[in-house]
């Protein structure tokens, strides 16, 4: 697809690969982070009876760009006692972790970084990069708040991967594929083909699956929310307790890397949730391009729906963040181990039985 097209155009697979790898970064993640930061500020502001940024540009639309420029100019403050190599690598590694996940996320039916058959497993794997980098950041900062934040974060991420994975396994048992592209392709057509509504086909199993799929979607949404450290699961950052958690000591562009990675992560998990349960890039109502017979329009429509669904889930994440208080760290673990995992297991069992029958 994009890669094949590029390599035929350029005639060199390596360059084509590099371009292909950079495309989502420059075309998607960076612009998205810019928009999402502004969106967060505006969403929070309007939820709190404020206006948010208003001075830079019309209703503050270039506020984020101004912020990025400011962050570029900032002095990179580093205390003498930090473990320098780890301290420098950690923000890069965080970003790699969240960026690598985009490689297997299908933006449209034509545009996916790599057509991995193990797509979803790969994404869950690389998202563990986050744990390593957060631990690195917390440990190398030589700051007790950072260390506490990193410990909390590691425990949280490791725990919440389990319910995510269980739900993913549930989906694999239903669909028989681990490739997100295949999964999205399966949910083509109309919204009643989405996995949340039992997947494609029209039989009794589909209707029996619906409640379990909804439970699965809720579980996966909650646990991915926890994996990206958003409120009510932001105990690693817990600004009222741990100042800023694991990135307390970071400033300037290194801080911006964490920040960028957070927003990239937010979108990544939203994309995963939508790919798993809400049809990924598929339009809920069929395509205008097919209707008009303009085939090149379809990928753009798909990109539109993909972005829209992603943003919708990002919006829900923001909505929760500005509404809910924060859980305590032991309650966080209780929620995961005592509620989500048993429910996810039961769900898996029942869905498995349904599929076998």
């Amino acid at each position: 697809m994009i890669f094949d097209w590029l390599s035929s155009l350029i005639g060199n697979e390596i360059i084509a690969g590099i371009i292909c790898a950079c495309l989502p970064l420059f075309l998607f993640i960076l612009p998205f982070a810019l928009v999402a930061v502004l969106m967060e500020r505006k969403v929070s502001a309007h939820m709190q009876d404020r206006l948010g940024p208003m001075r830079t540009g019309y209703h503050g639309i270039i506020q984020t760009i101004a912020d990025i420029l400011k962050l570029f100019q900032k002095e990179d403050i580093m205390s003498n006692e930090v473990d320098k190599p780890l301290f420098n690598i950690a923000p890069v590694l965080t970003f790699i972790g969240s960026y690598a996940a985009f490689a297997a996320i299908p933006f449209t039916s034509n545009f996916i970084g790599t057509k991995l058959d193990l797509g979803i497993v790969y994404i869950l794997g690389v998202s563990s990069f986050g744990v390593v980098s957060i631990l690195m950041a917390g440990w190398s900062s030589n700051n007790k708040y950072s260390l506490l934040g990193a410990m909390r974060s590691a425990a949280q991420l490791v725990s919440y991967e389990i319910p995510t994975f269980l739900v993913v396994v549930t989906l694999i048992t239903v669909t028989g594929t681990t490739s997100l592209l295949n999964l999205s392709e399966m949910q083509t057509g109309h919204f009643w083909n989405w996995m949340i509504l039992g997947g494609p086909g029209l039989n009794l199993t589909k209707f029996l699956l619906i409640p379990f799929m909804i439970v699965g979607a809720v579980i996966v949404f909650i646990s991915t929310l926890a994996e990206v450290n958003r409120t009510p699961f932001d105990v690693p950052e817990a600004d009222s307790e741990l100042v800023a958690g694991y990135y307390t000591e970071y400033s300037g562009m290194k801080f911006a890397m964490f920040f960028l990675a957070e927003y990239a992560n937010m979108f990544a998990v939203s994309a995963i949730v939508s790919a798993l349960f809400f049809g990924g890039y598929q339009s809920p109502f069929g395509y205008l391009g097919n209707l008009l017979g303009v085939s090149w329009l379809v990928p753009f429509e798909q990109l539109f729906w993909f972005t829209l669904k992603g943003c919708l889930f990002v919006f829900v994440q923001m909505w929760l963040r500005w509404t809910l208080p924060r859980l305590r760290v032991d309650q966080l673990m209780t929620l995961c181990w005592k509620y989500l995992i048993p429910f996810a297991f039961a769900n898996l069992l029942i869905v498995g039985l349904l599929v076998v029958l």
Partner: protein
């Protein structure tokens, strides 16, 4: 071979988002568990008591404002009452009414900050701003009255610095009507939120026995389930003329005296303050507010202790007068200071997050703790 472990000492503050000012807490931690808390004070010490000895009695009032800067009116009232007791001044009825209205508005404003920042400590950002929007309206009323939004110098010994603005009564009534539904909104958004209850119920339980022995006062004492409010139990000013209830902690979601109880007492107190304000606005008489102002404050020799129910608790002034124009000794009984003494006891064996919750629920202002 077992790994060698040791407690980690975490220095929380004096610069920290949620120590409510420049309080420094030395936490001994075992992982997330807090073994011991040692508060260190004095970062905001401004020598209030030493200053007072060099001032005349009326000159102390602006300094009094800066004790509990979130409830400056209440501080002024307490100081004025103490000096009036020393001088044996009867203030006109209109003055009493205006004072009560101001102090109750101030109580709402102070509780709004307490509740908002408590929510913020728990991680809920939005209620904090909702509270501040409402507080702004009260501050605007104060601004209308005396030109200042935080530190008023409005209640003077024997009277007030100004009479009310002609629009004040109307605007205050509008505010009361405006604010009533907002308490319910705060309840829906924060008080009955499941996560909020999880975080605060059964956390930092303060038994009544201990609360009394520590002389905890104000909402924190009432949260432990005793109806003790100086407005009812030791009435000053004209509080015996009004009809209002004293809310107490009932242990709705956990044990009596937990953080949620202390929090909710404040919520209900705001409603009761609205009742007092409504009644006072209806009954306020006409009159001159400056008629009882003494030309010169020169009280007789003696010691006096007078106290009022501040938003934070019982605020008292112990004044030793030697018959001159300057107070010989002014000692404050600061509610925040006394309430803070119990922190070490409450925090033993809880989580770091709970320390923040407990500190937020006893609602201290460092200006008053350090003086």
């Amino acid at each position: 071979m077992a790994l060698k472990t040791e407690e980690m000492v975490l220095n929380m503050g004096p610069q920290h988002p949620s120590t409510h000012g420049v309080l420094r807490l030395e936490l001994e931690l075992e992982g997330e568990l807090v073994l011991n808390v040692r508060p260190h004070l004095g970062y905001l010490h401004r020598c209030f008591e030493k200053h007072c000895e060099a001032m005349t009695y009326p000159q102390v009032i602006p300094y009094v404002d800066r004790l509990d800067y979130l409830a400056a009116m209440s501080n002024e009232l307490t100081y004025a009452i103490t000096c009036e007791k020393l001088m044996n001044i009867q203030v006109p009825e209109r003055v009493e009414y205006i004072r009560v209205i101001m102090v109750e508005l101030q109580r709402i404003a102070s509780h709004l900050v307490a509740l908002g920042t408590f929510g913020l400590d728990i991680g809920a950002f939005t209620p904090f701003l909702y509270c501040f929007i409402d507080r702004e309206k009260i501050l605007s009323l104060f601004e209308l009255t005396c030109g200042a939004r935080m530190l008023y110098n409005y209640i003077w010994i024997g009277g007030l610095s100004h009479d009310l603005h002609p629009d004040f009564i109307r605007l205050a009534k509008e505010f009361v009507q405006y604010f009533k539904p907002h308490v319910a909104e705060l309840n829906n958004l924060l008080s009955y939120n499941k996560i909020f209850i999880e975080r605060t119920a059964n956390v930092g339980v303060l038994p009544l026995e201990a609360a009394i022995n520590y002389n905890i006062t104000g909402p924190s004492l009432r949260g432990s389930g005793i109806k003790w409010d100086l407005r009812k139990n030791d009435p000053y000013s004209i509080y015996d003329k009004f009809d209002f209830d004293i809310p107490v902690g009932k242990g709705t979601f956990g044990q009596v005296g937990d953080c949620w109880d202390r929090y909710f007492v404040r919520v209900v107190e705001m409603e009761q303050s609205l009742r007092i304000i409504e009644q006072a606005l209806e009954q306020i008489p006409e009159g001159d507010v400056t008629s009882a102002l003494p030309k010169r404050v020169k009280p007789p020799e003696g010691t006096v202790y007078a106290r009022t129910e501040n938003p934070k608790g019982e605020l008292g002034f112990f004044i030793v007068s030697n018959g001159s124009l300057n107070p010989y000794r002014v000692k404050v009984k600061p509610p925040s200071f006394v309430n803070l003494t119990v922190l070490g006891e409450l925090c033993k064996g809880c989580f770091i997050s709970d320390v923040i919750a407990i500190l937020g629920s006893i609602d201290i202002v460092m200006g008053e703790v350090d003086r």
